[in-house]
């Protein structure tokens, strides 16, 4: 192996230090809390108690999967269209995708509360044309919609970035060899954009499955795993159960990322050349 210079070794040091203090150490603290009780004695009680939250965990996964799939269906064609536009148009479209990311999640979610409420914007408009009001807020649909709205940029951007790097001459070669639009999409664009899809799916699924704020504001009585963790720590001061629940979530996320990686690895070995 090549010997690295002092500078090369030092340049990474600040981040290594940061990661050690704020990422690795807290992970061990989570582990410690998961397997101890309030007095600090070792116990499996927290782990045993997890069984009570099976259903909530299942609903969280279900909502996040639905949100991720819909986000993908909406984002993929959009990213494709965007990558084929003129550079100037691409920049404007990119800006429109990014603007919601500049605003705080709380403000965005409060705005959606106002729009979806019983007496909110949509129902007011419906009333004006003499239509009965719809129950929008406090439904699973509202929670899933909130996830999609907040995390869609994290799907669009990686897909767009991979698509805009596809060499246009590959698309011309596909046409030249007889591919119409659909065949070009299926045989060239889709396989070459898999890495973008994988990172987009990961970046939407992970925050969706652990969200608590969106479900509280738009979901009413709907409780997701993130809400349970928050309640254990905030309201009930039960750090130990909270940590155990977080551990489950982390394991779930690690499994899903490993799955995605494997999926991309099957035919994605030589995608970045």
């Amino acid at each position: 192996m090549k010997k690295r210079s002092l500078l090369q070794r030092l340049i990474g040091a600040p981040y290594v230090l940061w990661a050690a203090i704020f990422i690795v150490v807290p992970l061990f603290i989570v582990l410690y809390y998961s397997f101890t009780d309030a007095d600090g004695t070792f116990t499996f009680a927290n782990i045993r108690e997890l069984g009570d939250y099976k259903e909530i965990l299942w609903i969280s996964i279900e909502y996040s999967v639905i949100a991720t799939v819909i986000t993908l269906i909406v984002s993929y064609p959009f990213a494709y269209v965007m990558s084929r536009k003129r550079e100037h148009t691409q920049r404007i479209m990119m800006l429109l995708v990014m603007v919601p990311m500049w605003m705080n999640l709380l403000i965005l979610t409060y705005s959606w509360m106002n729009i979806l409420e019983k007496n909110g914007l949509i129902n007011t408009l419906l009333g004006m044309v003499h239509l009965p009001p719809l129950k929008l807020i406090e439904t699973p649909g509202a929670v899933i919609f909130g996830m999609i709205y907040n995390y869609i940029p994290y799907m669009v951007l990686p897909i767009y970035s991979v698509m805009s790097k596809i060499d246009p001459s590959l698309l011309e070669a596909a046409e030249d060899l007889g591919s119409g639009s659909l065949s070009k999409l299926r045989r060239v664009i889709l396989p070459l954009s898999v890495p973008g899809v994988v990172s987009g799916v990961t970046m939407v699924f992970v925050p969706s499955v652990s969200t608590f704020y969106i479900s509280q504001k738009l979901g009413g009585k709907i409780t997701l795993i993130g809400d349970v963790i928050e309640r254990q720590i905030q309201a009930q001061n039960n750090y130990n159960l909270g940590a155990a629940l977080s551990l489950v979530l982390m394991v779930l996320i690690v499994i899903s990322m490993a799955l995605m990686k494997k999926f991309a690895g099957d035919d994605g070995d030589n995608l970045y050349i």
Binding site: S169, E172, E175, D176, L177, G178, G180, S183, R187, L192
Partner: protein, 376 residues
């Protein structure tokens, strides 16, 4: 193959990009089974012409015919031509076999036939045993062969080649030139080849189309283009030439450099101003007293097979190629035989080329445009 039949015809093609005319009223007929080369420096419109034939670009004006059928508006994937791209454009997510099989799969060819035809093609381009390789692990020359196999497996009537050899080193390039020529002869299909390299054009083509500024300058066989250039641009672009201002005294008598010479050209008005081309290898050097012209050697360069010497005659710098050494500063005589003289009508290129006083800069620019520069 029918040499009398035009397989492709371009009629009055005009293309503009952002108000700039890239092809200007271009007309071109390509016969079935021919090896045609579009030759010109970057920006001359040769790649644009190829893209029009392939269907990647619609002309602003004019018509494209294949086998006398109008092709305007027919998209690339429905045209019976295939292209070899400058940087090969192989699919990185497929191996060699799947790259070559691509077009057959799109056409839903039966699996057994795909296997047979792909292997047949891989044999033709000497890539037996490479079927399972990843294309990113191949050398430039091998990638080139995959691109050729991928296009030819579809048995196109016309193969379009966009500077396919420009990324290869010199030796591989010569090998591929021969190989392409052999493949073309063996299959008997029409090749339309784009290059900026005049040597490549001269050695490979049946017909050369010299282009500049979106216009065809001359169409002809390599020998015609070299020996009978139609204007100063063609004379300068193809090979080396001394291009002189002259006057046609009468048929078979041309006057330049203050003397009148016997020549083989006729049909000009008596006293008509003309451009006279004398190729550097056609001039004989003799003792000063025995020459038709007299001059001083101003520089000598050894080129291996010959010396390239610059001789100043009345302020005009001639380039002469000779196997005998003549030192700088020596006085020499020149003999120019009638068949060494080629007379051309004046054109807008008259006076732009021909003197070798600014030889190096100008020639470098003309002969070696940057390889990665696109045509548009």
């Amino acid at each position: 193959m029918n040499h009398e039949k035009n397989i492709i015809e371009l009629k009055d093609i005009t293309v503009r990009f952002d108000g700039e005319t890239v092809l200007d009223d271009l007309n071109l007929s390509i016969r079935d089974g021919e090896f045609v080369t579009l030759l010109g420096s970057s920006g001359c419109g040769k790649t644009t012409t190829l893209r029009i034939i392939a269907g990647f670009l619609e002309p602003d004006e004019g018509e494209v015919f294949f086998d006398s059928k109008n092709m305007n508006g027919v998209p690339a994937h429905k045209r019976e031509v295939n292209t070899i791209f400058q940087r090969y454009a192989l699919f990185p997510h497929y191996n060699v076999f799947e790259n070559v099989a691509y077009g057959l799969r799109v056409r839903r060819t039966p699996e057994a036939e795909i296997r047979e035809r792909v292997h047949e093609m891989l044999t033709l381009v000497n890539l037996d045993g490479f079927a399972k390789r990843s294309v990113s692990k191949l050398s430039g020359g091998q990638q080139q062969r995959v691109a050729i196999a991928r296009a030819l497996v579809l048995k196109p009537k016309v193969l379009l080649l966009d500077e396919p050899l420009s990324a290869l080193d010199l030796k591989l390039r010569k090998d591929m030139q021969n190989e392409l020529r052999n493949i073309q002869k063996a299959l008997g299909i029409t090749f339309v080849f784009v290059t900026h390299d005049q040597e490549e054009a001269l050695s490979m083509s049946d017909t050369i189309v010299v282009m500049n500024e979106g216009k065809v300058q001359q169409i002809g066989s390599p020998i015609d283009i070299y020996n009978e250039p139609q204007n100063a641009f063609v004379a300068d672009f193809i090979g080396e030439s001394n291009i002189l201002d002259g006057v046609m005294k009468e048929d078979y008598k041309a006057s330049f450099s203050g003397k009148t010479f016997q020549c083989l050209d006729k049909g000009f008005a008596p006293g008509e101003a003309v451009d006279v081309v004398v190729r550097p290898e056609d001039v004989d050097i003799v003792d000063p007293g025995k020459g038709m012209l007299k001059g001083i050697v101003t520089s000598v360069t050894f080129r291996g097979v010959h010396f390239e010497i610059i001789v100043d005659i009345g302020g005009f710098k001639w380039m002469i190629q000779t196997t005998d050494f003549h030192p700088e500063g020596a006085e020499v005589g020149l003999i120019i035989e009638p068949d060494a003289i080629h007379v051309m009508k004046k054109s807008k290129y008259s006076g732009m080329f021909g003197d070798y006083s600014t030889f190096s800069d100008e020639m470098d620019e003309m002969n070696a445009p940057p390889e990665d520069e696109d045509d548009e």
